[in-house]
Assembly symmetry: C2
Homo-oligomer: 384 residues x 2
């Protein structure tokens, strides 16, 4: 096990009806800017429920944060928040709204060009505090300090992280996910699955607890992901998925272990250049990534085959093949295709994607920093 | 899954050499009172290492906090801290020192008789901040807000909990556990094991993640507990045990699930009246408790039999019997006897123990509040 620091101060309010409790979590007298995405939180009544819980506060709104939230949109919220002297933010939505709100929170007090926080790792020394009301279990952003933002003008999709952008609290009410479209449910399951894979499918490092926690989360996704699509209002299923997606990326299973993230880096470029959903890109890249890097990941792939897919006997390479195939089949069973071609993207897309990786300095990816541009090209070729 | 709030702000500094980092975690200019137990942290050099890391601070010391820390001893530290205007505490030791330090932290600013915090649930509105350097993985006190204190004069052993007594940070350096006596290592494994059992072996409540996390921790204890006794300086083993014991009682696996704690309540009385180690009492009580309450716990016992002891086939009652027997055998394999008689305690001890439970209001224990004094008597009789 590697040395690590683990610190996660986000307060989780989990369960049906918890939105009513959020007024206790916001400093009295706060000027609150509520951020959200499209109309779904309006249509489902979640926004109205949040407003009803916050009648004691000055409440402003900023809607229209898009999936893969853009710098251009978010800077409008920053201007509004500065103008209105907002001192608390409340993100109501999924990972995109929360990621966007983290950017807004850090950008409001930032002196200079806020994009530099991402493009130049400019130091972040302050952020407006914020909470979240999660409506889409997927990214884990509700309990971590990371954010990924897209600059529409340049098609750059970059991340930043800072302890100052941990949410102060997050409401996880599984009933708020009943009305999600199946595509978003499936995307959420895959997003969480690949978050876990990035922290688990590397090489053994004597971290038994982290491994078993990761495996417990994967098994839960495999059991309950399909059920969530079949039974939209099954509370137990939605609750298990929601808590799983949060724990998949709150720092716990990644503490003290090697981490990969090459699948995410390549996926980001596919979204930036072709507009695919984040989870779609992960479903495309992960199976190919595991296949191309099967030698480096051999021991963990065998453990994954045994503990997740119950493959204990016979030829080791055959077990790995089967485990990767089952992973692909699982994604496909959620109606998320796992080939670039299924999204109308042909082999001619590979070179621009590799160039984008190069432009963003993604030339030594993975837990061993040995995924160079040539290996990324191979992964993309296998994903066609 | 039940509704829950989860919030754990303790910062964990995990790994070899982390003591050197603690000066960054204490406010500059702080007057620090270092608390510890017997001479072992002196002998092993851990105390000197902590002192060397804190040369920039005013450092005071209070040693002599005993196992099952007493109100009488701790009040001496409270007097010292008040006299010396201490504004940060640093516990160096195991669960007893940390539990004791939580009491000191809350007692220093407490107006009135601090024992009332335990005996009368007097509200706690302030506490001196503190950190810990853990030397004995066992209680989880290093990452939770609970504390158990004994009043020597009356043989009362009572607990309190408050968010104000979360440690600000805890250093978990596995190398600091190499020199522990085997008895303390074994006790620590059993303490963590029973903490998990109290949160897991209840009844099913659709909490797949909490179940699988609990199972992952149990499996790690079963695998690495005996190894820690056999290979004192195996870093990987000590690291896995240390992180397991912390996660066994940091609120995570208990969030949203029914909890038992009857074994602990009965165990506390055995320690108070007979002076046994806390873990010894748990090793005595748990197997008898599971046997007596096997009907209420049937579904989880079958799950435990399957996932922990690989018992999948044949008669269900036989599987439960085997699972309980293996639990007992595991404790015995760590050289911790599981019968009252092995500690020279006969059946005549039962009535005084039951009376002590009654005196402390422990008349409706367990996840269903149906463990009355008669059932506790049955458990003790079976544990003879």
């Amino acid at each position: 096990m590697q040395n690590f620091t683990f610190h996660n101060p986000t307060r989780i309010l989990f369960g049906s009806g918890q939105i009513a409790a959020i007024h206790q979590e916001i400093p009295s007298g706060a000027r609150v800017l509520m951020t959200y995405g499209g109309g779904s939180v309006v249509k489902t009544g979640t926004l109205a429920e949040v407003k009803a819980a916050l009648t004691d506060f000055t409440l402003l709104e900023f809607g229209g944060i898009e999936p893969n939230p853009t710098y251009e949109t978010l800077m409008q919220a920053v201007a509004l928040a500065r103008r209105e002297q907002v001192d608390f933010l409340l993100a109501v939505g999924g990972g995109s709204v929360i990621d966007g709100t983290k950017f807004i929170a850090a950008a409001i007090p930032f002196a200079g060009e806020p994009w530099d926080m991402l493009a130049k790792q400019a130091p972040i020394t302050a952020a407006v505090p914020f909470g979240t009301v999660l409506t889409l279990p997927a990214t884990g952003s509700e309990m971590n300090s990371f954010s990924v933002i897209t600059r529409a003008a340049t098609q750059d999709k970059l991340g930043f992280g800072n302890p100052l952008v941990f949410p102060r609290f997050s409401v996880l009410d599984p009933t708020k996910t009943y009305t999600l479209p199946p595509r978003q449910v499936a995307n959420g399951v895959i997003d969480a699955f690949v978050h876990i894979a990035e922290q688990y499918l590397t090489y053994p490092d004597d971290a038994k607890v982290q491994d078993r926690f990761a495996e417990g989360l994967l098994l839960t996704l495999i059991e309950d992901g399909p059920k969530a699509l079949a039974e939209a209002d099954n509370y137990a299923v939605r609750a298990n998925l929601m808590w799983t997606a949060t724990l998949a990326l709150n720092g716990l299973i990644g503490a003290g272990v090697p981490q990969d993230w090459a699948t995410h880096m390549i996926g980001h470029e596919i979204t930036a250049l072709h507009g695919l959903d984040h989870a779609q890109t992960l479903a495309i890249v992960l199976p190919a990534m595991l296949q191309i890097r099967r030698r480096d990941k051999r021991e963990k792939l065998l453990q994954y085959a045994a503990r997740i897919w119950d493959l204990h006997d016979g030829d080791e390479d055959a077990r790995i093949d089967t485990a990767i195939r089952r992973t692909r089949d699982f994604f496909e069973s959620l109606q998320v295709p796992t080939r670039l071609s299924s999204y109308g993207i042909g082999p001619e897309a590979i070179t621009p994607l590799v160039r984008a990786l190069e432009r963003h300095g993604m030339t030594a990816l993975g837990e061993r920093q040995n995924v160079d541009l040539e290996q990324s090209r191979q992964v993309l070729a296998l994903a066609c």
